[in-house]
């Protein structure tokens, strides 16, 4: 009898691999629908995704995987960022040299920093495109309004992360781009100055002091930006991103049309059970595992046009992740992240350009610091947040540009916006603006009447025209959104390629004067 414990012990020891695996993964191999659901449902990390997914959501021409791409690039940024933190020193004297060390000394450091830099670009592009996808497929409608707001918060966090990271290398480009940007944050005083109340009420200076911890960019500013870039903003982004994905799942998956034809589902995987008509009520439903909005499977029929998320969705998510990773690696292998000379507070970079995705804003800022840096972007963000609350028309969702009318309005708005923006740029570049003609003009007049605000007025007028003409708030939203998107792209292109030293116009970079 006394050998029993020993026998048990040795038996347990031999069975350890099996029992350990059993304690780790508490379901069978994914050979049955039940086990495939359990993989998703019982796994802490996967349960933010649904156990079954509608075939329409797997259509690559519907989503283009943009949301997954944005999240993938964020994961790549997290990993490479954490690695860079090992060597980076957030000190005015050491920061620049530590970046040089990462580039030239640390094994693989150059590659990791390049990946970190280029994944930012992919994240920003995919976040913008994802937003455009959600907008043009009317996926912000019905009960999804607040998730659209969360998406806008994520867009802002993405841009802030990129901006705070820009200062860290402490090179000339970083220093002067951030000088400009923090003065934009302080540009409320352009407005208070114009009203002559700065001495009593100075929100601009308050913003600047809060951001820099000082009047000038120095050690305190570097530490604050480091703190924002490495702790506060990533933490906020992870939390909001979690809520964003969770809500997609609780809202019953991606938005999809009410009436889906077989033609729509061409090329998506199909569950053999979906054709089967059950004569008895199902013993168990997948929706009971988690109550979500939307139509539930009708009792007495097979699970309509859904397939298990494992493997159909997971394999697509992994594929998009690998594509993103491959793109960043390729980019990082070919092109080095920029690094100029060490920051020199007495000699500005000329031209001092922010990263390319801020150059549209910089173009606006070159008309008026307050309107271009705070007024118009603030207005645009407010407009974006309000879209789902001001446009509540009942309509078919989940189709690109809704229908024929939607695509026509998009196309017309595109042509209209290109004409207006290009016209305005040609006008300002060749003729100048009020200050060039009337040097004594009050600043308040320029704040409210500059090329940027004129564009906004043109866009709002067009949007209003579309609202009246088509008697639809959705068409007005499409018109306005398209205009702002086009303006953003054209201004960004213009700021990147056609602005040179002194922010003068040049056709080509090769025409810049040598200095």
């Amino acid at each position: 009898m006394r050998w029993k414990a020993i026998r048990n012990f040795s038996q347990n020891l031999f069975e350890f691999p099996r029992t350990f695996k059993r304690s780790l993964i508490r379901h069978d191999k994914p050979v049955s629908d039940r086990a495939r659901s359990q993989i998703m449902f019982n796994n802490f990390f996967l349960h933010i995704l649904s156990t079954r997914i509608h075939r329409y959501s797997l259509k690559s021409t519907y989503t283009f995987g943009l949301g997954v791409m944005a999240a993938s690039s964020f994961i790549i940024l997290l990993v490479t960022g954490i690695l860079l933190m090992i060597y980076y020193k957030p000190s005015v004297d050491l920061a620049y040299d530590s970046i040089k060390d990462i580039h030239y000394v640390v094994p693989g450091g150059r590659f990791i920093r390049n990946i970190h830099r280029w994944a930012t670009n992919i994240m920003i592009v995919s976040v913008f495109l994802h937003m455009a996808r959600v907008f043009y497929t009317a996926a912000y409608k019905r009960w999804r309004a607040f998730n659209w707001v969360l998406g806008i918060i994520l867009l802002v966090l993405t841009l802030l992360l990129s901006f705070t990271g820009y200062l860290l290398p402490w090179d000339q480009l970083a220093y002067w781009a951030v000088t400009i940007a923090t003065n934009i944050a302080a540009s409320a005083n352009e407005f208070t100055d114009a009203l002559n109340i700065t001495a009593y009420f100075n929100p601009g200076r308050f913003m600047k002091i809060l951001l820099l911890g000082s009047e000038e960019i120095g050690q305190d500013a570097l530490l604050r930006f480091y703190w924002l870039h490495c702790i506060i903003l990533p933490l906020a982004l992870v939390m909001v991103l979690g809520a964003h994905i969770w809500r997609v799942r609780k809202d019953g998956g991606l938005a999809r049309p009410d009436h889906i034809s077989d033609e729509d589902l061409k090329g998506t995987p199909k569950d053999p059970l979906s054709d089967k008509v059950f004569t008895h009520a199902p013993q168990k439903t997948y929706n009971l595992m988690c109550l979500v909005k939307g139509k539930t499977p009708i009792v007495g029929r097979g699970p309509e046009q859904t397939v298990s998320s494992w493997p159909h969705m997971m394999i697509r998510i992994v594929a998009v992740f690998m594509l993103t990773l491959a793109l960043t690696c390729l980019y990082a292998y070919m092109i080095d992240a920029p690094l100029k000379e060490m920051a020199n507070p007495s000699v500005p970079e000329n031209p001092a350009k922010a990263p390319w995705y801020f150059l549209g804003l910089q173009e606006l800022v070159s008309y008026s610091a307050f309107m271009g840096g705070m007024g118009i972007p603030g207005l645009a963000l407010l407009g974006l947040v309000l879209i789902p609350y001001l446009d509540r028309e009942e309509q078919e969702i989940g189709r690109w540009f809704d229908n024929k009318q939607g695509s026509r309005v998009t196309k017309n708005s595109f042509i209209y916006a290109v004409t207006v923006v290009v016209g305005m740029l040609v006008f300002t570049v060749s003729l100048g603006w009020l200050r060039n003609w009337f040097p004594q003009i009050p600043q308040l007049f320029i704040i409210f009447f500059n090329p940027g605000t004129v564009l906004v007025v043109f866009f709002v007028a067009w949007s209003f025209y579309c609202m009246v003409r088509y008697n639809s708030t959705r068409m007005a939203a499409i018109a306005l959104f398209t205009c702002f998107l086009v303006a953003f792209v054209i201004l960004t292109y213009f700021g990147t390629y056609h602005r040179g030293p002194n922010w003068d116009f040049y056709w080509l970079k090769s025409q810049w004067p040598v200095h």
Binding site: D193, S346, P439, Q443
Partner: protein, 165 residues
Amino acid sequence: MTTPQEGCACPLTNQAYKKISRRDFLGLAAMWSCVAAWILAALGLGKFPKPALLPDVSRVFKIGRPEDFPVGTVKIIEDKKVMVQRDEGGFSAISLICTHLGCIVSKTEKGFACPCHGSKFDEKGNVVGGPAPKALNWLEISQLPNGKLAVNAGKSVPVGTKLAA
């Protein structure tokens, strides 16, 4: 006439007086006092990042004796981002920090130009083009008891103000 006190004794017949039970009232009061405490604590924490003391060096700096600046002198002090000049009217100091977004303007034949967004200023620092909202700051210049001249970069004076020699 019934009073609220009587109402408490027989709650079933005096619903009108009994809008909220004592238990609910105390519970809600406790909850909202916690919320108030959290909000006040958050506001207090929010004050934490606002620097009480700015780490910057003094904005007042000496530039030398009046004799060092004969009439007609124009001297740019690069690290202080200031241009000091002397003419018949006296001494004056113009800040070289662009009033648009804080880049450093450079001296040109006709005045000053900013490299960042193309603001242009005349010799006195008045805006003649570009996005700058106002003239370059003229800074207070004073003579210390020991005879040296000092510029206060933290204090701007009206355009054209000069310290008589």
